[in-house]
Each structure stands twice: as C-alpha cells, then as structure tokens.
C-alpha cells in the first residue's frame, strides 16, 4: 500500500480536546492508522531498554554455555552462579517485560488509532521500571544477590535487590492499568468501530494475566523484602507457592503476547485470515481463566502439597489452557494457509507453504516461533508438568531445555520477528543489514533447537540444572557421569553459541537501524527499497469479502490439518514414552 491521504473518520465531533489531540497524530503511510506521538515515544524507549537488557542477558548466556561445556569450563563457580542470576533476570524479566510494555502501548494506541490518555503516567511507570532494573542489576553485579532467578528463602539477598523487583513490578502494573484505560477511552471516543481487533484482544489477555501475576509479585516480594530486613519470618514452602504465581505466570504473559504477535504478523506478512473470531477469542479467554493455575506444576515433588491439590491445579485447569494453545496452534497456520490461498497460492496440499515469503524475517520468525513453541516447548512442557513424570524431570536439565524452547524459541523469536516490522512502522527507518536480517531468525531458531534438545537429553540422563561442575572433581564421593553427557554438553555449547551470535546480530541490526537507519521516504515504498519487509512495501488485504471467501472456507485448510495431525502424533508418542521411562525407576510413593 502506498502513502495515502484519505480523509480521517470523524472522531467524536464537537469535543475540542480530542480534536486538539488528534491534530497531533501522525498517519502511518502503510497501514493508514493514526499514531499518537506520545505513545510512539514510549514504545521506542521501552523497546530500546528491552534490547539493552537483552544484550546483558546474551553476554551472560555466552559465559554460561561455555562453562556448562565441561571441556571449556570458562567461568569460576561464583562467577557462573552470578552470570546465571544475571541471565535469568535480564532475559526472563527485564528484556521480555520491557518489550511487552511496548507491545501493550502498540496494541492499545496504534492498532486502535487511539490517543494515550495519560502519557505522564507512562513516563512515571517507565522511570520506576528503570530504577528497579538498575537496582537489581547493580546488586547482582556487586555479588550481593547470588540467589539465582528464583531467590528461594532462606537463601538471602541484599534488601535493595527485593526493593528493585518491587519497583519494577509496580511500574509494569501501572502500564497494564493504562492499557485498560486506553481501550475504554478509545471505545468511548469511537476511535474504532465494532469489536476489539483480535491482536488487541490477545494483548488484553496478556495484560489481565500481567495484573494477576504482578499482584502475586507484590504478595510475595513485599514480605520477602521485610524478611530480608529482619522484620518478619517467611515460610520457604509458602514462598515457593507464591513465587511461582509470579515466576510462571510471567511466562504466561509471554505466551499470550506471543500468540497476539503471531496473529499480527500473519496479518502483516501474508494477509492471514482469522478463521473464526469466536474460537480464537474463546482460546484467549481460557488462558485468563486457567493458565495461572499452571504455576502449581513447580511444586509437584514438593513436600507441602497433597496429591489432590497437585492433580487438580496442574491438570484439569492447566489442560484447558493447553487446549487453548492447541487451538491457536491450529488457527494461526490455518489463517496463514487461508490467506495464502486467497492470494492465489492454491496448488496442492502445501503449495501455500512453499510459496510463503521465507525471506521475510517477519514471516520466517513468526513461523519458526510457532513451530518451536508447539513441537518442542508445548510437548515437553505438558509432559514434565505431569504430576508423576515430574519425578524424573524436576530440576534436571530438561527444565531449561523446555523453557528455552517456549520463552526463547517461542516468545523471544516472535519479538525479534515483530521488530522487523516495528522498525519501519514505528521508528520509520529502513532496516539496516537486510541480508543478515533475512537469515537471523533461521540462525537463531536452529541454534536454540540444537541447544534445547541437547539440554532435554542431558536431563533425561539425570544431569542437574544450575550446576557448575559436571566432573564433580571436588565432591566428597567419586562420581562419574554417563559419557554421552559430554557429547550433549558439546552440542549444547555449539547450539548456544549459534543462537547467541544470532541474538548479537539482532541487536546490531536493531540498534544501528534505530540510530543510523535511513528514514523511509514515500518513494521507498513505491520503489521497493531494500530494508523494508514485503508486508510494509505492499500490505496484504486485511479483510476479505465476497464469494471467493466463502469458496476458500468451503475448500478448507487441508495442509494445516496434515501439519496438526503430525504434531498430535509427536505429542502422544513423547508423552507415553515418558510414562514408560518413569515406570522403570525405583518404586516410590
């Protein structure tokens, strides 16, 4: 779509305040949406800080893989645990949540062509999050918080560490609140008509889960802060339960945000169709209802809870959330297939997939994120989250193997992919190093899969996670690990280095585009300048009407049916293999 000058739909005529605000809007030449400059600025700063945290996290990651790879064994023990703390906090919390704040601003203002009601509050929230992030990182750097991401009491960090976490959470809570307010005001001011767009609906799901999560965070970290000051007692088991209400639910915000981005990128890259609004929205709703209970699966082999509690919380509730993920795992590729078929790629079962824009990092990143999250992350997650199977998985390398495919191969990759569209659409810059950008999602996806599968195999052999020395050189009893573990350590190291290089390439592209990228001119859009993804050059139709849509619905999505069929078989095989493995262990109960 080229630059357009069509008339704006009149927003709530007569309200002079709104007119004054709307006159400040920029109109996006690609999507024709109105952009509030205040919101755009907040998107930019949150995204930039997210990338800085990503850089800290990936530098730590390189140290970690080079240490777990026993042949190299790079870091000393205290540095290894410090790097592990830094890595977990900067990746899982700071990078992802700062980025999600950008996504919330984007989904509430830009996608709805709405104004941001309280920009000053947005800056206050950003300030709180920055101070929190800096306090936490400073404490960890100084060696005053070698407690790892989980910080289970009675292991104690400096009180300022807990204070930093609290300030960060309060900031994020304010942004979530503003997101709800923006949607309500946009509806009142008739910025958009009809229902909420599905992408914004997905972001709304993420924001609701964020509130549930952050409230858990307040419940757990305020007493922990007081405990660290010596003002009160804290029960380690109660902490573990409440902590995971925060710790795991944070990852559920990611899942909802990631799925929303899948829908967004499917629309931007190939004109993906929402097969059925009802089904997709119900699936998001299931996340809100049930996904928070899934946190309980961290306590499956804990002494504090009974079997009924464990079975109920992790299974019934959780599997309805699993159902939701399985639905999105169908509707997103089905929407892509339908979108491609409507654009004329109708040959055979997989013609649409062959003809898909694999050189567009927005599309390849989205698709790889979907496949890695589903096939590797989802299948392993549901399996190790089963009450009894958890006995052979708890705190082994299988756990990081699992979440590096969900949070890293899934969420982080989706964030990378959407960045290739945010740079031209929000920052209005041509993406630099475009050839590198085309291969970056592939390199990252392949690296992370090699690394995570190695970790999962190490875990199946019983290798513990978060462990500095797999040679056990200084342990009181002589001990030798299985020789295969050395092979997996090496493949884990190689995969990790590939993925880390891909992250560094991403950071290079993002930072140099933001600061040194060429500004997009209207001619760039016409001439198809390099550094602009194909969806930006020619935005595919977002809504299809007429008889060909009915025809497409009738022909269905046969290719996707085959793909989800393969997925289902893999899932069932992996799941029951694990029961078999479990049944061979010592009897315990």
């Amino acid at each position: 779509m080229t630059a357009t000058t069509s008339n704006e739909p009149t927003a709530a005529s007569g309200a002079s305040l709104i007119e004054r605000v709307t006159s400040k809007f920029r109109r996006c030449p690609v999507t024709n949406l109105k952009v509030d400059p205040q919101a755009e600025m907040l998107i930019k700063v949150n995204a930039v800080v997210a990338v800085v945290c990503l850089l800290i996290g990936v530098i730590a990651a390189i140290g970690l893989v080079l240490t777990r790879w026993q042949l190299v064994h790079f870091l000393t023990a205290p540095m290894y645990y410090r790097f592990l703390t830094l890595h977990g906090l900067n990746m899982l919390i700071f990078f992802i949540i700062f980025f999600e704040m950008a996504v919330l601003y984007f989904a509430s203002t830009l996608l709805l062509s709405a104004r941001l009601p309280a920009a000053k509050l947005g800056w206050l929230a950003f300030g709180l999050m920055m101070i929190g992030m800096l306090l936490v990182n400073t404490m960890v750097f100084m060696g005053k918080a070698d407690v790892l991401f989980t910080s289970y009491p009675p292991l104690k960090a400096h009180p300022i560490y807990y204070l930093g976490v609290i300030l960060f959470a309060v900031g994020a809570l304010i942004v979530s609140g503003m997101f709800f307010a923006t949607i309500i005001i946009a509806k009142k001011e008739k910025a958009y008509e009809g229902g909420l767009p599905l992408v914004t609906f997905g972001a709304l799901t993420a924001a609701i889960i964020a509130v549930i999560t952050l409230v858990h965070g307040a419940i757990v970290y305020i007493p922990t802060f007081l405990w660290s000051l010596g003002l009160m007692e804290i029960d380690p088991q109660v902490f573990r339960m409440l902590f995971w209400g925060l710790g795991h639910s944070t990852q559920q915000i990611n899942v909802a945000a990631m799925v929303a981005i899948w829908y967004l990128l499917a629309g931007l890259t190939v004109g993906g169709v929402v097969m059925n609004e009802k089904i997709s929205r119900t699936a998001f709703f299931l996340y809100i209802l049930f996904i928070s209970m899934a946190s309980a699966h961290h306590l499956l082999v804990d002494p504090g809870m009974g079997a009924a509690w464990k079975v109920w919380n992790t299974s019934y509730a959780m599997y309805l959330a699993v159902l939701a993920s399985m639905i999105h795992g169908f509707t997103v590729p089905a929407g892509v297939e339908m979108g491609m078929r409507l654009r004329g790629h109708t040959q055979g079962l997989f013609g649409w997939l062959r003809r898909a824009p694999w050189g567009d990092p927005g599309f390849s990143g989205m698709w790889l994120s979907l496949v890695i999250f589903g096939f590797f992350g989802g299948v392993t997650g549901v399996t190790i989250g089963t009450e009894q199977i958890n006995i052979i998985a708890h705190n082994t390398m299988r756990i990081p193997g699992h979440f590096h495919t969900t949070v890293v191969g899934g969420t982080a990759l989706a964030f990378f992919a959407v960045t290739y569209y945010l740079l031209p659409l929000v920052f209005q810059k041509r993406v630099r190093f475009w050839t590198l950008a085309k291969i970056q999602p592939w390199m990252f996806g392949i690296g992370i899969v090699i690394m995570a599968v190695s970790m999962i195999l190490m875990g199946i052999f019983g290798a513990p996670r978060r462990h500095w020395d797999s040679s056990f050189a200084t342990s009181p009893f002589p001990m030798e690990m299985h020789p295969m573990l050395e092979v997996f350590q090496a493949t884990m190291g190689i995969g990790g280095l590939i993925a880390a290089t891909a992250v560094l390439i991403f950071i290079l592209i993002a930072v140099s585009t933001v600061f040194f990228g060429k500004r997009i001119t209207p001619e760039d859009l016409v001439n198809g300048a390099s550094g602009l993804p194909q969806g930006v050059l020619k935005l595919p139709a977002q809504q299809h009407k007429g008889p060909e849509v009915a025809e497409a619905h009738k022909n269905g999505v046969r290719g996707t049916m085959v793909l989800v069929g393969i997925f289902f078989v893999v899932f069932a095989l992996y799941y029951f293999t694990n029961w078999k493995l479990l049944s061979m262990a010592w009897k315990v109960g």
């Binding site: 070698d146 767009p197 804990d302 009450e387 056990f472 009181p476 262990a585 315990v588």
Partner: protein, 173 residues
Amino acid sequence: MVAPTGNWWLPASLQEKKWVTLSFVWCMILFAMMPLWHFRGGQNPSGIRGKTTPAAFRARVDRFIKEYQVGTDHGYPLVAPPPGADIYLQAQMWSWTPVLKLKKNASYTLHLSSVDVNHGFSLYPVNLNFQVVPGYDYGLRITPNIAGEFNIICNEFCGILHHNMVGKVIVEE
C-alpha cells in the same frame, strides 16, 4: 488486526471443530492419566507429609545414625537400616548425611528434610528428583530395584559450593 464489525459470533468450520474436539479429548486423557497412575502405577510423589523444625530433624537423624551405624565412608557415617525401617537423610550446605546402605527389593520410608535452605534430592543415575524444603518432612516409600552404588546430587541451588553437594546410597543384593 482489523476490528471485526457486524455479527462475528459465527459457527466454526468443520475442520476447526474436529481439531478442537480432538484436542479436548486429548486434554481429558492427559488429565485422567494422573489419578490413574495413583491407583495403578508405582511412582507417585504423594508420600507422607509433615512439618518439622531443623533442630527436631537433626536430632532425629542423629538418633537414626546412632541406631544403625555400621562404619564410615569418606568421613560420613555409613548406616544400614533393616528393611521396612524409617530412614532419614539430612540436607545441609553442602552435604547429605548419612550414607545409606539398603537391600534390593526391600521397602523403606525415606524422610527428607533440610536444616538450612532449599535443596534438591536427585538420585543418580536412576533420576528420581524431589524438593527438600526446610521445615518440612517429606516421607517417601522407596523400593530400590537394582543393586549398585548411587549418588545423590543436590539439584537446587543452595549457595556457592552447591556443586560439591553429593551423597551416596549403596544397594546390596
């Protein structure tokens, strides 16, 4: 991306319905497996759960060692309790006490607790993993099914020498 207008609450297509139904049935199978394993399977994490204090648990471990000690192993007390006994394992930065000598195919009730921070019980290479939480006594009925020497690795980060925390279990024919 685009806001749906008009009546968008439409019935789903047949393929979508098929997949949702299959997924739902599968989720119910996933759910049913867990209670089923409690009745039919031999590996469950339920155990006997009780509260304790570090001092009380330490005293209980000392009494247990005094009662069944048969020697020492690398400086740790070596304990050989009779089949069916309640056996005690104490986790502490950065050691497991005592070393246990068990009989193959005999059942024991293994009591796990920590006297300081969280620890992780990981039996290598059998790959049984349980969380050890201070203040809680986790009683697990275990039946070793293979003879040999096994190690207990701590798999919950418990401080800077965490990787040194290795214990030992001997299972005899």
